[in-house]
């Protein structure tokens, strides 16, 4: 499978969720906010879920996606 072909859209979608880390949004909502077609966004969102960047809550058209905050830690050198 060629992942790179979706890379710009993945990047766009990732940055969108990074900027809105507390957002819960459906696929249609994401498509609307990014000004993209649902069918273009669908595989990208699925990929982001598979990459553990997004969490999918629920199923079907009403499924909601949210950004998974990465683990943050700090320690003395």
């Amino acid at each position: 499978m060629n992942f790179t072909i979706n890379l710009p859209l993945q990047m766009e979608c990732t940055l969108f969720f990074q900027e809105n880390p507390y957002m819960f949004e459906t696929l249609d909502g994401i498509a609307l906010r990014l000004g993209r077609k649902r069918e273009d966004i669908d595989p990208v969102v699925k990929q982001l879920v598979s990459n553990s960047l997004l969490e999918k809550i629920g199923d079907g058209d009403q499924a909601i996606y949210r950004y998974i905050q990465p683990d943050t830690s700090s320690g003395l050198v």
Partner: protein, 699 residues
């Protein structure tokens, strides 16, 4: 079978019939005549009833199908015929029949037999030639030569035909490639249509690991192998993949490994397979076979090899096209990421971008970004795919290596729990800010992805550097700002002079052609030179300001005879000398530490500015008048009232004009009289007129 050039065959037959004095005809390999008889027809009719000659020839061809050279047989007792095969590639393709021959020693008995048994007419019997054993052998040798000539012609005809087929095949594949058609099915159809011998053709593609899957197959019948898989080394096809060499199998139905096909009801009698390469690496194989022929012909296999070569070219072209498209996508992505990074002011956002973009690209088991926080002497780690124990373990591991890896570049490392990780430093110039760490599943990250990650890390390093530099600069600017303001309290005299110097520097820099950089530093330095340099060093980390002030002090102390300091320091020295020495241009002439062109420009600027000031004074000789209004100490409202009084308005009109009550106007008038030290309106008006009209305008 190659179709004979009948005219050529007939011509050769006619020549040799005449040469050998024999009646001749040539048949194909099933006994069908392909030439007309040449020679004595009477003799022929004598031997065969003409109607049955075809049948007789077919029977003879059948009998002599395997002969390897000329054979002499008796068409009738004592009447001999020579049959000579014409071979192509050791296969008897045509047969020359040449007769009739009667041995000299047998002539009398044969004629007697023909007379009695066949009632042959005497004139025909007289035409029968007789030959000695040597003559017969000579004739046979000539027939051999004739067969050789025909074989050679057939061989060259075959070669031409093969060449033409090959060219047609190449042409059809080229057309596909030129048309940009990259559909495997169309490709297989092109191969299959151009070759009648082949009724099975397919393409298997390498997938994950050592598995191959039949991506496309064309074969007769309903069953299909499409989608079936096999491993490298498994069965006939797997063997070709394992050895990476083409193979041809004859009578393959006898081989037990054919079960891969036969279990699906496909039973080829012959099979061939050729590996397909993409960019030098095997990516699959093309196979073809025949359910009719036990052995595939050489031209068919040659065509198959040509098809495989074109398929390799097509796959490589596709791969290159995909690579170019991917590179464009990556460049577009990088470009947009860089734009976002350039706009972001927050280190945490940079870390998130690095983290998530790496995860999107590599899809490894884990990604983390480690950032050094020098002020806190700590590391900040953001990660995905690591447990808290792994984060602890890895951060300890990394912190131990940070101090010794100042000059580090991309490297691989094995974590405490045994996972391979690529560590790409986040660097700017020779400073390392941290690492982008990408975990991998035992397989290497390919070169292009590493290059993308390197670019991403490089951009991350620059972004972090810029954010930290801006923070540092802002901190230093605010420290310098506080010190500048403090001068006013500690050294008010210096502050006044510094303000004047700063203003002069600003206006001079605006007008001069000499490039003066860091003007803000230069203006701040006018104030900061009041402080001891050690104090400044402790509180201002900005090297440009510190070095400027140090240079200035050095000029002031040493008074060098030639200019060696920077233009900024020279200008600072020049302006301060001018200000401190009473703003006299002639005092500047003794300065030696300043570049002559700078000095001349500065003096020229000062001369020009003074003239402008004088011109203003001449054009506005009563510009001092407004000061009188301050002397009168009238309020804004009182001034408005007085202006209307001068115009001759009474209290009622003034009240109406200013939207106030008449009583308020009276109050204002009382105040005005007191302030002007007059007792009534007329005295007030007189006093105003004594002050001049411009004052009235100023009201």
């Amino acid at each position: 079978m190659i179709l004979a050039d009948q005219d050529f065959f007939q011509d050769v037959q006619d020549v040799y019939s005449d040469l050998t004095d024999l009646t001749m005809v040539i048949t194909d390999n099933i006994g069908e005549m392909i030439t007309n008889f040449t020679g004595n027809k009477n003799l022929l009719d004598l031997v065969y009833e003409y109607k049955s000659i075809n049948e007789a020839l077919c029977q003879r061809v059948k009998n002599f199908s395997k002969i390897t050279g000329p054979v002499l047989y008796d068409a009738l007792p004592g009447v001999k015929v020579v049959v000579c095969p014409v071979t192509v590639n050791n296969t008897n393709t045509y047969f020359i029949f040449a007769g009739m021959i009667i041995k000299k020693t047998e002539k009398d008995s044969v004629i007697s037999y023909l007379k009695q048994e066949l009632n042959a007419p005497a004139e025909i019997l007289a035409e029968i030639p007789e030959s000695s054993a040597e003559e017969i052998q000579t004739k046979i040798d000539k027939l051999k030569k004739m067969a050789a000539i025909l074989s050679k012609q057939l061989a060259s005809q075959k070669a031409a035909s093969e060449r033409s087929r090959k060219e047609a095949s190449i042409d059809s594949f080229l057309q596909l490639i030129e048309a940009g058609n990259t559909d495997i099915n169309t490709f297989l159809k092109t191969f299959s249509n151009s070759n009648q011998e082949v009724d099975l053709v397919g393409f298997a593609r390498k997938t994950e690991g050592d598995q191959l899957v039949i991506e496309e197959i064309l074969q007769s019948g309903n069953s299909s192998l499409k989608g079936s898989t096999f491993s490298t080394g498994e069965g006939l096809l797997g063997q070709v993949v394992a050895t990476n060499k083409k193979r041809y199998w004859e009578k393959v139905y006898r081989d037990p490994r054919i079960s891969y096909f036969s279990q699906k009801g496909i039973v080829p009698k012959s099979l061939a397979a050729v590996p397909i390469l993409k960019g030098g690496q095997q990516c699959g194989l093309l196979f073809w076979g025949s359910s009719a022929n036990e052995q595939l012909s050489k031209p068919t296999n040659t065509e198959g090899s040509i098809a495989a070569s074109f398929l390799s070219i097509m796959e490589s072209t596709l791969a290159l096209r995909l690579k170019a498209s991917n590179n464009l996508m990556k460049l577009t992505t990088l470009n947009e990421i860089f734009q976002v990074m350039a706009a972001v002011q927050d280190e945490k956002r940079i870390l998130l971008i690095l983290l998530d973009m790496s995860m999107n690209l590599i899809r490894g088991p884990f990604v983390s970004v480690i950032l050094r926080q020098p002020l806190k002497n700590s590391l900040e780690i953001v990660s995905r795919g690591l447990t808290s124990e792994q984060i602890d373990s890895y951060s300890k591991d990394v912190s131990g290596r940070f101090s010794i890896n100042e000059e580090d570049k991309l490297s691989t490392h094995v974590t405490g729990w045994g996972a391979a990780v690529y560590e790409i430093p986040l660097r700017y110039q020779n400073h390392s800010y941290g690492y982008l760490s990408i975990g991998c599943n035992g397989t290497d990250i390919d070169e292009e992805d590493l290059s993308f990650l390197n670019s991403l890390s490089f951009a991350g390093g620059i972004s972090i550097h810029l954010i930290r530099s801006m923070k540092e600069e802002s901190k230093q600017s605010s420290a310098a700002g506080v010190l500048v303001e403090l001068v006013e309290l500690i050294e008010p005299g210096h502050s006044l002079l510094a303000a004047k110097a700063s203003k002069l520097i600003e206006s001079f820099c605006e007008s001069t052609s000499i490039p003066v950089s860091n003007r803000a530093d230069l203006k701040d330095s006018c104030y900061l030179i009041a402080y001891p340099i050690n104090l400044l060093k402790k509180n201002i980390g900005k090297p440009s300001v510190l070095s400027l002030i140090e240079e200035y002090h050095s000029i002031e102390e040493n008074k060098p005879s030639i200019p060696t300091a920077s233009i900024q320091a020279q200008l600072l020295h020049l302006v301060w000398t001018y200000i401190k020495q009473g703003e006299k241009i002639e005092n500047l002439m003794q300065i030696t530490a300043v570049n002559r062109s700078l000095l001349n420009e500065f003096i020229s600027y000062l001369n020009h500015t003074n003239i402008v000031v004088k011109e203003i004074q001449l054009a506005d000789p009563v510009s001092r008048q407004p000061e009188i209004s301050h002397d009168l100490n009238l309020s804004k409202r009182e001034s408005e009232v007085m202006k209307l009084v001068v115009k001759g308005l009474n209290n009622r009109d003034i009240a109406s004009h200013l939207y106030i009550s008449e009583h308020t106007v009276k109050n204002h008038m009382t105040n005005i009289f007191q302030k002007m030290n007059v007792t009534d309106r007329s005295q007030a008006i007189a006093k105003i007129y004594q002050s001049g009209w411009d004052f009235i305008k100023g009201l």
